[in-house]
Amino acid sequence: MNAQHLNDEAQKVKAWSIFGIGSPIGDDQAGWQVATALRERDPELVRMESVRVPLDLLHVLDQCERIVIIDACRIIGIEEAGDRALPERILDCDRARVYQWHWPSAKLSSARWLNSHGVGVVQVLELADELGILPSEVIVFGIEVIGDVVCETEMPAVVRSPHLDPDWKSIAECIWQKLHVELEAV
C-alpha cells in the first residue's frame, strides 16, 4: 500500500460524516459511545457529531457527501416482521447485537428506533430524501443492547456495573472494518 493509496483512502474516509444519535443515559448511549470510540480510533479521518434526536440530522445532511448513522434500536420479532426481511447482523457480542442497513432499505422498518414526536431515523431519512437533501450514500448501524438491566449512570442510587456495558470499542472496531469494506466498493 503506497502513500498515494493511503492518502486516497484518507480522503475517502474524510467524506464520511458519522452521526451518533442518543443521550448519555442507559442503552440510549450506544450511538454516542460508539461514534466517540470511532473518533478516538482516528480523529483525523472522522467527522463525528453526537445528536440527541434524529430530527437534528435534518439541519446538517445537506452539508454531507456520505453519512453513517449509529443509533440504538430494538429488532422486532420474526413473527411481527412477517414479509419484512430482518437486517444483516454484523456483530454478535456478549451484551449487544449490531445490524447494518444501506439506504434505501425497507429492512430499516424491521427495527424500532427511539424517537421524539414519532419522528425517528427512518422518518428523517424519508423526509430528507423527499426534500432532496439526502447524501448520496447512507449507512445505518443499529445497536441492540441485550439484557433487561437498564441502569443510569447519573443516578447514584443505581450503580451501573461496567461489565454490564457492551464493549463499545469492539463494536466501533467492527463498524470501522465494515466501513473499510464500503470504501473498497467506492
Binding site: R52, L58, H59, H117, V119, L127
Partner: protein, 443 residues
C-alpha cells in the same frame, strides 16, 4: 354503515405526531357519550420529588430534563421562582437576554409543531413526509427557521437541547458580540420566512369550531408577555403570579398519570397556549406580527384548529423581537447578579410554547430544595382537551370508527400536547358496545 343505536368503543392506542405517550378512549351508547378519556399512561416521572434535597443550583439542569423541546421554559420558570424565594434581583439587561433565549425556544418548538406535526392534518397528509412531497419549499423553509431557533439556543445556552447557561441571578456566561452578530442575517431571513408562513397557513380551509374558551395567559403592560407579568383569565381578571394556586388547582383522575388542572372556582376547564396569549396580548405584538395579523384579518379566535396560524404569528413576533435584542446586544453587562443564599419560598410563571407554566419552590438557608411544585401547560390543557372531544364527538358519530379516531387525534394535536412534560403519546379506543372488540386506532 354505522349503527348509531349500539354501544361503540373507539380506542386510539397511540396518538401520532405528539410528544410523549398517551391514548384516547371513547365509549358511546347510541348518541350518548359514556366515556371520553385522554389516557396518559407514561409512568409518573416524579421530578418534584427528585428535586428535594438538591441545591438550588441544580434545579435548572434537572428540570430541563422534563422536556427536550421546551427546556428553556422549565429552566427559566425555575430560576425565576428561586430568585423570588431568595430575594434575588436581576438586571434589566439580563431580563432582555432571557426574553431572547426564550424566543429561540418559541421558534424551534412552534416551527416544529406547525410544519412537521400539525400542517399535514390540513392537507390530508398522513405525515410530514407526504406533506414534503407536495410542499417541499414550505417544509424546507420551516426546517431552516427551526435551525435558526436552535442556533440561538446553542449560542446562548451552550447547546440546543437541555441548555446549560441559565442560572439563578442570570447567566453563567454571555456570548461574545461576534457570536451574536453571526445570528443577525439568519434572523432577518427568518422574519421574512415566518411572514410568508403565516400567509401560507392563513389561506387554509379550517373546520368550524367555537370552543368558547376561558383563556389563561400572562399579560404585561409593556411587552407581549413571555417571562413575566400577571395572570389574565375570565372576562377581564388579572392576578399576581403568587395568587395562581388560589385560583387554579390540580387533581388526579384514574385514567391519567398526569394531574389535570381546573379553575378552583366552579372546577371549570381553561385553555393555555398561543390562542390565549394572542387573546390577551395582541396589541403588544411586534410591528411586523401586528401587520401580518391585520393583513389576514386575525380576530379573537376560539377555534383551536386556527391555532396553527396563531402559533405562526407568534413566530413572526419572536424573530422580530429577537432581532431587536440582538441588534442592541451588549456583552459587557454583568451576566449574573450577586446574591446571598437564604431560606425562602417563591414562585414564577412563564409562557412555554404550549402555554402557561408555573413553578413554586421552598429552599432552606443552605439553598437546598425543601418543596417543589411544577405545573406544565399540557396538564392545564388536558381537561380542556377532553371537554373539546365531548363537543366534537356528537358532530362526527355517524362516521366510521377509523375516521372518528383520526378526527379526534387532529383535535388533540391542535394543542401541541407534550405528554412527556405532563408526565407525559396517544392512541384512541372506540367501543361501540356491539359485542365486537373495541377498535384500536393507530396501534
Amino acid at each position: 354503515m354505522v349503527d348509531l343505536n349500539s354501544e361503540r368503543r373507539i380506542r386510539v392506542p397511540i396518538l401520532t405526531r405528539v410528544e410523549g405517550e398517551g391514548g384516547l378512549y371513547v365509549q358511546l351508547d347510541g348518541n350518548e357519550i359514556k366515556e371520553c378519556q385522554l389516557n396518559i399512561y407514561e409512568p409518573p416521572r416524579l421530578f418534584e420529588t427528585l428535586l428535594i434535597g438538591r441545591s438550588f443550583e441544580d434545579v435548572a439542569d434537572i428540570t430541563a430534563r422534563i422536556c427536550g423541546i421546551c427546556p428553556i421554559a422549565y429552566q427559566m420558570t425555575a430560576v425565576q421562582a428561586l430568585e423570588n424565594a431568595m430575594g434575588v434581583k436581576v438586571s434589566p439587561e439580563v431580563e432582555r437576554i432571557r426574553r431572547l433565549i426564550y424566543y429561540g425556544e418559541w421558534i424551534e418548538s412552534n416551527v416544529l409543531h406547525v410544519h412537521l406535526l400539525q400542517a399535514p392534518d390540513f392537507f390530508d397528509c398522513d405525515s410530514a413526509i407526504e406533506l414534503a412531497k407536495r410542499f417541499p419549499n414550505e417544509v424546507k423553509r420551516g426546517l431552516q427557521m427551526k435551525k435558526f431557533g436552535n442556533r440561538l439556543l446553542e449560542v446562548f445556552g451552550g447547546r440546543a437541547i437541555h441548555p446549560i447557561n441559565l442560572a439563578v441571578g442570570g447567566f453563567y456566561r454571555l456570548p461574545r458580540f461576534d457570536e451574536m452578530a453571526s445570528l443577525l442575517s439568519e434572523f432577518e431571513w427568518g422574519l421574512q420566512a415566518a411572514i410568508e408562513t403565516v400567509r401560507w397557513l392563513a389561506a387554509l380551509d379550517f373546520p368550524e369550531y367555537d370552543g368558547q374558551y376561558d383563556f389563561v395567559a400572562l399579560k404585561h403592560d409593556d411587552e407581549y408577555a413571555i417571562h413575566r407579568g400577571k395572570i389574565a383569565f375570565g372576562a377581564d381578571r388579572l392576578i399576581a403570579i403568587d395568587q395562581y394556586e388560589q385560583h387554579f388547582g390540580e387533581e388526579h383522575v384514574a385514567h391519567s398519570t398526569a394531574l389535570q388542572s381546573c379553575q378552583l372556582n366552579g372546577r371549570t376547564t381553561y385553555f393555555v397556549g398561543p390562542l390565549a396569549r394572542l387573546h390577551w396580548n395582541r396589541d403588544l405584538l411586534s410591528s411586523s406580527a401586528k401587520r401580518i395579523a391585520d393583513e389576514i384579518h386575525w380576530s379573537d379566535c376560539h377555534n383551536p384548529y386556527r391555532g396553527i396560524v396563531g402559533r405562526s404569528i407568534e413566530v413572526v413576533h419572536a424573530f422580530e423581537e429577537a432581532l431587536n435584542i440582538l441588534r442592541s446586544y451588549d456583552p459587557k453587562v454583568p451576566p449574573r447578579a450577586t446574591f446571598t443564599v437564604r431560606a425562602g419560598e417563591g414562585c414564577s410563571a412563564t409562557e412555554a410554547p404550549r402555554g402557561l407554566i408555573y413553578h413554586r419552590y421552598r429552599v432552606d438557608d443552605a439553598g437546598k430544595v425543601q418543596f417543589a411544585k411544577i405545573v406544565p401547560p399540557t396538564s392545564q390543557n388536558q381537561a380542556q382537551i377532553e371537554s373539546d372531544l365531548r363537543r366534537l364527538l356528537p358532530t362526527i358519530l355517524q362516521r366510521p370508527d377509523l375516521e372518528v379516531g383520526i378526527l379526534c387525534e387532529r383535535l388533540v394535536r391542535n394543542y401541541d400536547p407534550c405528554i412527556s412534560c405532563s408526565t407525559h403519546f396517544l392512541r384512541v379506543t372506540l367501543d361501540r358496545g356491539d359485542g365486537k372488540p373495541p377498535t384500536v386506532i393507530r396501534a
